[in-house]
């Protein structure tokens, strides 16, 4: 029996190749995910270990207390230095110090970080050109920032200190950011330790690194340092420190792994459908072979075993192929990430034993699992079937069990989805809706063979009329075996459904967000500080108000205060009134905002259980506790703080706080470029004041959405690719089955191109069916999911995108048919008529 199976496998090598490719792609993606994340993790661990080699003990401050980030004081550093066994101890400083670009404005969207470069062996920052700073007038820049901002060693650079005062330094070197993700994002300026403290305004150290004197072990040193610094500090050996860093980093890469694996699971599910279908067809085609085996004495168990064995061999071989593919994909992704400048350690891609075992197990389990049902149906072949000359046409009747299950899935799925949509928007609602949608999808999967017939008539309506006889024959062929067509198309449906959901969601978010922006107040320009949290001088807004080109200059200010008797701090703010600016309120009126009155935001009202007419105590910085009456409730869209008080009152409560942001509209008839120039002129004296236009904000948001859409669609593309292999597989098996039929058509005068066209149209119809079902489901699911995200969703159907999914699916189907169609058309008429 084993020999028969292996001989069969050898004979059907080509036929099983497409199946193998489907599994290999799925396994490859999963393995590739692990290769990528394992390699990154291993690289980080290695680098952390290398960096930590220099230090014997690291002292870290305890958890942050209140608003103040905790730090290690000078006194503690001195104590550590005086501890026995300590050869050297260096404090590391880290804070904000904004580099000024060549245009005189603070460089980048976020201020650069200021760090200290300690002297001696404890320095972990590697200088790649020039040298480390030695005097208070020297500084170094990270390579990336130097490159993008056009600075080179020897230049003079200007940097703002924490008080926004400008200082100039000589650039003496460039350094490598290593694995620091924050610096990778913002860029950094490095100074001597003392200068770094002055520039960043940090009073303490973020970390103190300690080197042991000769002969002192890390553990001994750790114990003696810990005894000196006392409780409230974490003291770790260098080894432990490196391990902890690697672990924290691993936690963040776990998120990436999980996200990617989700797509891997989708791909494997599609691959399972393809395998199931392939084995089903193979079993159907080999009915006579099975029957012959049964005739000459094979038991049902042996027939079953032979199919399962066949699937196991295929599964194993393709999993191995998948692992190789995964290794290639992982290495490729690493190369791409490195090429685009992600701060990643450069290590060779690693295929860990865990990845190998996982890949093999997953590939094998999915393949054998998907082949079980076909194998069972193979055991039902009666020995007498060997004597029948011609395989009978498969007929399909929708069984009662199928209908009952489908109805069950559909009703429960729709019910759960509706329940989820009725819930308050949030994560729970989304999860409920997703569960409901999955059930609905199962219903469609179960109903597949029933709906494929009418759908093929629908999808084939145009092709049947456009392509004449080949077209009509193709549409007939696409539904002659509904079960097979359904499984083939459902594989494609999975990918198209998910793509449509994502495209509907992003489209809806885009429109809803834009609508919310418009609702609030049509803002043309926004002025705010580079780091978003520090204040702007009031002079900017005052200056802008004097410009005739501009109208409606509204400045927002804010501070924090405790409300009532609670310990929690809330934002308390104000805005300068301007014509045309009326923030949206859920309740109450802005006109009643007089001294002694306040507006509260909806989330604050809910939290404190207060409403219009209630009184609220604000414990202010200058005026002590003041009691205010609530005259309105603002919602999030208004852009107001938790508690809003009138402008004058705010000053009385909190003093002369600067503006947090200024919104500006230009007057009608003014050229937007001219208005922008005016605003830029007004902000020029303030390097950290950044001007953004609302179109820019929307552009950024759109870009981020587009990016997300592109990445997710790309990842889902794998599932679609696998389903196309499925279409190609089904077609080539069908072509094989219909060899004589094709020969007959050729004898009757169908030309080769017509025969090819017939198969292409069949694939086109299959692709369209899969896409149509996917698009309908995707729109429904997307709509349901969008409802769970926020209130007042404006549903948006990205029609061109969805149409392109349908068109691409059809086109891809046609592509999938190229090889099978070529083979069918090439076959000699006489040979095919004689064969089997």
């Amino acid at each position: 029996m084993l020999r028969t199976t292996l001989a069969g496998l050898r004979a059907h090598r080509l036929r099983l190749m497409l199946t193998s490719l489907a599994i290999a792609l799925g396994v490859g993606f999963i393995a590739g995910t692990f290769v990528l994340t394992d390699t990154i993790e291993a690289g980080f661990t290695q680098k952390f270990a290398a960096a930590a080699d220099r230090i014997d003990v690291a002292v870290l401050p305890g958890p942050d207390k209140g608003d103040e980030p905790s730090a290690i004081s000078d006194a503690t550093l001195e104590k550590i230095r005086a501890t026995e066994g300590v050869a050297d101890a260096q404090g590391l400083v880290r804070g904000t110090s904004a580099l000024i670009g060549k245009d005189g404005k603070a460089a980048g969207d976020y201020p650069t970080v200021g760090i200290s470069l300690p002297e001696g062996a404890l320095n972990r920052t590697s200088i790649v050109s020039g040298r480390a700073p030695r005097t208070p007038t020297e500084a170094v820049l990270d390579e990336g920032t130097a490159r993008t901002r056009g600075f080179k060693v020897g230049d003079t650079v200007a940097v703002l200190d924490s008080e926004n005062a400008r200082h100039e330094f000589t650039l003496v070197g460039l350094f490598d950011i290593g694995l620091d993700q924050e610096i990778g994002f913002t860029g950094a300026v490095g100074y001597t330790t003392d200068t770094a403290r002055k520039m960043t305004g940090q009073r303490g150290f973020r970390e103190v690194d300690v080197a042991a004197a000769e002969g002192v072990s890390q553990e001994t040193l750790r114990a003696s340092v810990a005894a000196v610094v006392g409780a409230g500090h974490q003291v770790k050996t260098g080894e432990r420190y490196a391990a902890d860093l690697a672990k924290a980093n691993g936690a963040s890469s776990e998120f990436l792994t999980l996200g990617l694996l989700l797509f891997g699971v989708v791909a494997m599910f599609v691959a399972a459908l393809v395998i199931y279908n392939t084995f089903n067809i193979l079993v159907a085609q080999r009915t006579r072979e099975m029957a012959l085996l049964r005739c000459i004495g094979a038991t049902r168990g042996q027939v079953f075993g032979s199919i399962v064995l066949e699937s196991a061999v295929v599964g194993l071989l393709s999993s191995v192929l998948g692992l190789l593919l995964g290794y290639g994909m992982g290495a490729g992704a690493l190369a791409v990430l490195t090429a685009v400048g992600a701060p990643l350690p450069s290590v060779a891609a690693s295929l860990t034993p865990r990845t190998i075992v996982l890949g093999l197990v997953i590939g094998l389990t999915v393949t054998v699992g998907a082949a079980l049902l076909p194998a069972r149906s193979a055991t039902r072949v009666a020995p007498i079937a060997a004597l029948r000359s011609q395989a009978e046409e498969q007929t399909f009747k929708a069984g009662l069990v199928r209908m009952i299950f489908a109805a069950l899935f559909l009703v429960s799925g729709a019910g759960i989805t509706a329940a989820g949509m009725a819930m308050k928007p949030g994560e729970t609602a989304l999860v409920v809706v997703m569960a409901g949608c999955s059930l609905v999808f199962l219903a469609v999967l179960t109903l597949g063979p029933v709906i494929v017939k009418p759908l093929s008539a629908f999808a084939g309506w145009v092709p049947a009329r456009l392509f004449g006889v080949p077209g009509r024959l193709a549409v007939d062929n696409s539904r002659r075996n509904p079960k097979r067509s359904a499984t083939t198309t459902v594989a494609l449906t999975v990918g198209v459904t998910l793509m449509t959901v994502i495209s509907v969601l992003t489209g809806t978010i885009r429109v809803t967000y834009a609508h919310q922006l418009d609702e609030q107040f049509p803002v043309d320009y926004l002025v705010r500080s580079q780091d978003r949290s520090s204040e702007l001088p009031r002079a900017i807004a005052e200056d802008l108000r004097t410009r005739p080109e501009l109208t409606a200059v509204v400045a927002f200010r804010g501070s924090t205060a405790r409300l009532g008797t609670g310990d929690e701090k809330y934002e308390v703010g104000t805005f300068t009134p301007a014509p045309g600016f009326t923030p949206k309120l859920n309740e109450g009126s802005i006109d009643r905002l007089v001294p002694g009155a306040a507006l509260v935001a909806d989330h604050v009202a809910e939290r404190l259980k207060v409403g219009v007419g209630d009184r609220i105590t604000v414990r202010t910085a200058k005026a002590g506790a003041v009691e205010l009456s609530i005259v309105g409730v603002s919602n999030q869209e208004s852009g107001l703080s938790g508690v809003t008080v009138p402008e004058r009152e705010f000053d009385r409560y909190f003093g002369e706080v600067g503006d947090s942001q200024v919104i500006v509209n230009y007057s009608d008839g003014v050229d937007p470029d001219r208005a922008l120039m005016v605003i830029e002129a007004a902000t020029r004296p303030y390097p950290t004041a950044k001007v953004t236009s609302s179109t820019e904000v929307r552009g950024e948001f759109d870009e981020a959405l587009d990016m997300m859409l592109m990445i997710i669609t790309g990842l889902l593309g794998l599932a679609v690719l696998i389903s196309l292999l499925g279409i190609a597989n089904t077609l080539s098996l069908s072509v094989h089955e219909r060899t004589r039929e094709s020969a007959l058509l050729r004898a009757l005068g169908l030309t080769r191109p017509q025969l090819r066209r017939m198969l292409s149209v069949e694939a086109l119809v299959l692709g369209l069916i899969g896409a149509l079902v996917g698009v309908v489901l995707g729109i429904g699911f997307g709509w349901a999911a969008a409802r769970t995200m926020t209130e007042n969703v404006i549903f948006q159907l990205p029609v061109p995108q969805i149409l392109s999914f349908v068109a691409l699916s059809g086109l891809a189907g046609v592509l999938a048919a190229v090889l099978p169609a070529r083979r069918a058309a090439r076959a000699s008429v006489v040979g095919s008529l004689a064969s089997g």
Binding site: Q390, E392, L473, D476, A747, G749, V830
Partner: protein, 257 residues
């Protein structure tokens, strides 16, 4: 009964018109070198139009190969084939396909019909492939002749073997081809259904003036023809006009000897 070594003359019952199909020095070789098989070694034969001719011969005599070459289904290694006034040798695949579509009808031993189409759709298929409309009168006549009027809406799986072959005959007739090639059309049928199908073939020759070339190994089937030509080892070796089952059998016995 005449047995001639050189068969190139028209059959005695030929209607004297131009021959529908002619082969001159037809050779067909499969493979090459040591493994080469000479299926046809130089066959000269003509089939008069309006006549029913049977091709007979022992297994491996080349009778199916001859039919495939005559019908433009297979390429020839040497010699010439003409259908009416068209020279087949030298035509490319597309031209051959169009020729089959326009001038030739086929009836095969089995698997004659497309399982997805009804009997009527199967009958009309050649015309539709050619983009032509069926002559309603001819359609009516053909369907009436083969006796399928009440079976037109059925799928092949709902028809008996004999009915399926009758549909195939009707399909071959409908386009009014210059010649119909039938390859063992009764090979899969019981004797009664077989007799029916052969009668229809015969009737179509008589009443529709159709030319039919049939390959068979059954002397009874061959006896329905006007003329029988015999093949052995790729050569035309004998010919019989006005055959009876007995005379065909006798000739075959002699060839086998």
């Amino acid at each position: 009964m005449t047995i001639t070594g050189e068969v190139g003359a028209w059959g005695a019952r030929g209607k004297g018109a131009e021959p529908a199909v002619t082969a001159r020095g037809l050779t067909k070789v499969y493979g090459r070198g040591d493994t080469a098989v000479h299926a046809l070694r130089g066959v000269d034969v003509s089939f008069s139009s309006g006549a029913f001719t049977a091709i007979m011969g022992p297994s491996g005599s080349g009778k199916s190969t001859l039919m495939h070459c005559l019908a433009g289904l297979d390429t020839v290694s040497g010699g010439q084939v003409r259908i009416g006034d068209v020279e087949l040798t030298g035509l490319n695949d597309r031209q051959l396909t169009l020729l089959r579509r326009e001038r030739i009808g086929f009836v095969f031993q089995a698997f004659n019909l497309l399982p997805t189409l009804t009997a009527e759709q199967n009958i009309r298929l050649p015309l539709e492939i050619a983009g032509r409309l069926a002559d309603p009168e001819l359609f009516d006549l053909v369907v009436g002749t083969v006796g399928l009027r009440d079976r037109l809406g059925h799928k092949p799986s709902e028809l008996s073997g004999g009915q399926q072959q009758r549909v195939a005959v009707a399909r071959a007739l409908i386009s009014g081809p210059q010649v119909i090639f039938a390859d063992e059309p009764t090979g899969n049928l019981d004797s009664r259904s077989g007799a029916e199908v052969l009668s229809f073939l015969r009737t179509s020759v008589r009443e529709l003036d159709q030319t039919i070339v049939m390959v068979t190994h059954d002397p009874v089937a061959a006896s329905y023809a006007d003329r029988v030509v015999f093949l052995r080892d790729g050569l035309l070796v004998s010919e019989l006009v006005g055959p009876t089952p007995q005379s065909v059998l006798d000739t075959l016995m002699k060839l086998e000897a």
